[in-house]
């Protein structure tokens, strides 16, 4: 439906790829119809995609929708055993993959197409009429990143994704010259969201298969990109690459970021490096069909200029809930909390799935979904996310959100990156350990960093110890791997303790 609408309205516009050699909306419909024939001939019930960011990804997504088959983008960075496990859970899907993964899939005995070849064949294959499926049928199965538990496949129904698009995007709102650059991988919910929302807007999609800050900046300039979505670790590398200079990207009007917490110093440097771009903070989960809250460019500007500390603080917020989504903060007993009180964020709306393959729905009787994120709402309805409930450190019976301490330490001039974790402790149950990556040429003293925190937060927030490392472990989509860090630091011989 979404692609058909776009093809009807602006069929001869380029939908995917380069300004000169891209695929038009009309041709994308043709490829999807031919691709659907190829996918259906496999006899499989699901379509798995194992590959990087490229034109093949949206083409396979729409072909699967045309074929009435659920689409499952897989994390190509997983090891062979893990991939085998996920493919097993999908009960014999047909697989479209990049050449690099062809052998791995072939060994599992599944029907496999190489993405480039598939794309060329799809354009020539007998086109299929779209298969009518129920709005409540699964459209996309997406494995969660699994930073806090084993990856689970979230079931996103056609109704969830359509609700997300219709509630948050205006049809055909993009000017013909607009282009969106995607650097997040296909297996990330923002990778799926970006296809649907930009196609529906009539905006050309440009892909950067392997992110590097230099390549990103060059591609934005070369393809006259007007909007881009990045995760915080990418934006950090982009501002580092620019080293204080203004970016030479005159067409770029919008930079959206999300997927993990944005360190404030990185955001401030980015605002200076891209003075003509509007910044958008998008907050969402796989289970919520992408974005459920947005901090708009106007919100960013207002917060930056406001003398009112409550308004200025909103620069660190996730903004306000999008239309069609309700939110509520509840305490541990499930009762709603007052403004400014921290609890768990629950959300409800057409785009919220809250259902996992083989495990069923976790929605409550009234359709509310527990996000497992600790958060609070200010009186203006701005949402502040503290972090995953599972990351909460319990020190001496007190619940402590790592983010509170990290947000203070990241402003210390000698700190480049920081993670605060809880390590087992005989006296406190868990002790607060700050793991710090020093800024270039800086040699911070642990006691200085502890004093920095003590001067700004309650005494119970002062780290019990500070450990220095060269880097922190992140997923490629910018999520800090806290459990891995706890496990690594559990072997005390590797690191110098203080």
């Amino acid at each position: 439906m979404l692609l058909d609408m776009a093809a009807t309205a602006f069929g001869d516009r380029v939908a995917l790829g380069g300004r000169g050699d891209g695929i038009t909306f009309e041709h994308l419909v043709r490829v999807s119809a031919g691709g659907a024939t190829l996918l259906r001939s496999s006899g499989a019930e699901r379509v798995a995609y194992l590959g990087g960011n490229s034109t093949a990804f949206p083409a396979v997504l729409f072909a699967a929708a045309t074929a009435g088959m659920p689409f499952v983008p897989l994390n190509y960075r997983l090891g062979e055993d893990q991939l085998d496990g996920l493919l097993g859970e999908l009960h014999g899907p047909v697989v479209v993959c990049d050449e690099a993964y062809q052998d791995v899939v072939a060994r599992s005995g599944l029907k496999v197409h190489r993405s480039e070849e598939w794309l060329a064949t799809a354009a020539l294959a007998e086109p299929s009429e779209p298969v009518e499926v129920d709005d409540e049928a699964p459209a996309v199965l997406l494995f969660t990143s699994g930073t806090t538990s084993k990856p689970k496949a979230v079931v996103l129904r056609h109704s969830n994704l359509v609700s997300y698009v219709l509630q948050t995007v205006e049809f055909g709102s993009a000017e013909p010259a607009e282009a969106a650059l995607t650097s997040v991988p296909p297996y990330h919910i923002a990778g799926v969201g970006t296809v649907l929302t930009n196609i529906y807007s009539g905006r050309r999609l440009v892909y950067l298969p392997n992110f590097s800050a230099g390549a990103w900046l060059r591609l934005v300039a070369a393809e006259q990109v007007t909007s881009a979505m990045v995760v915080p670790t990418m934006l950090a590398r982009i501002v580092e690459e620019l080293a204080g200079a203004r970016a030479a990207t005159p067409t770029l009007r919008s930079i959206a970021y999300g997927g993990a917490r944005m360190p404030r110093p990185v955001l401030e440097k980015a605002l200076a490096a891209f003075p003509d771009a509007g910044f958008v903070n998008a907050y969402g989960l796989t289970e919520t069909s992408s974005t459920i809250a947005i901090l708009s460019p106007d919100d960013h500007r207002t917060a930056l200029l406001s003398p009112d500390p409550a308004v200025a603080a909103r620069l660190s917020s996730a903004g306000r809930l999008v239309p069609g989504v309700e939110g509520e903060i509840r305490d541990s007993a499930g009762a709603p909390t007052g403004p400014g009180e921290v609890g768990e964020l629950w959300v409800r709306g057409g785009q919220i799935s809250g259902e996992y393959l083989g495990l069923g729905s976790v929605l409550d009787a009234d359709g509310w979904f527990p996000t497992r994120d600790r958060a609070c709402l200010d009186p203006g309805g701005y949402l502040f996310i503290e972090g995953r409930a599972d990351d909460t450190i319990i020190r001496g019976g007190e619940n402590i959100a790592p983010a509170e301490i990290e947000d203070v330490l990241i402003h210390h001039p000698a700190v480049k990156e920081v993670a605060v974790i809880g390590l087992p402790d005989i006296e406190w149950g868990e002790r607060l350990t700050a793991v710090v990556v020093p800024a270039a040429h800086a040699t911070p003293e642990p006691d200085d960093l502890r004093a920095w925190v003590r001067a700004r937060l309650r005494g119970s927030r002062t780290p019990d110890e500070v450990i220095f490392r060269d880097g922190l472990p992140y997923t490629p989509t910018g999520k800090l791997l806290r459990r891995q860090l706890v496990a690594e630091i559990g072997s005390p011989t590797t690191y110098e303790r203080t």
């Binding site: 439906m1 609408m5 009807t8 309205a9 009518e132 709005d135 109704s159 359509v162 609700s163 219709l166 509630q167 948050t168 995007v169 205006e170 049809f171 055909g172 709102s173 969106a180 923002a190 969201g193 970006t194 929302t197 930009n198 807007s201 905006r203 909007s227 979505m229 919008s254 959206a256 999300g258 509007g278 958008v280 998008a282 992408s290 974005t291 947005i294 708009s296 460019p297 999008v322 239309p323 057409g350």
Partner: protein
Amino acid sequence: MRLKTGLRLRSQVCATEVIVVRPGSSEIDLTCGGHPMIGSKETPADGLDLKPELASGTLLGKRYTDKDNEIEILVTKAGAGSIADGLAPLLLKEAKPLPSSD
């Protein structure tokens, strides 16, 4: 009829197809070209004609609402009829796009 979010309907006398984005809280007699809209998979009745006073046409991708701005209907296929509550045409809703977030 009582609308429901996500409900898909079609006109009996033109190509118009719609989806309900906001159902509102009260009943509505949703028509297109002067005749009741039906489920997207239902077959139009025979012998119906587009009423000339309700033939201004629908616009692809546009949102329509009632005078109280309670309901929201989005056109997924354009057609020659006008969508209306009974015989009172719905109003074209002004777009307020959110910034692009992904």
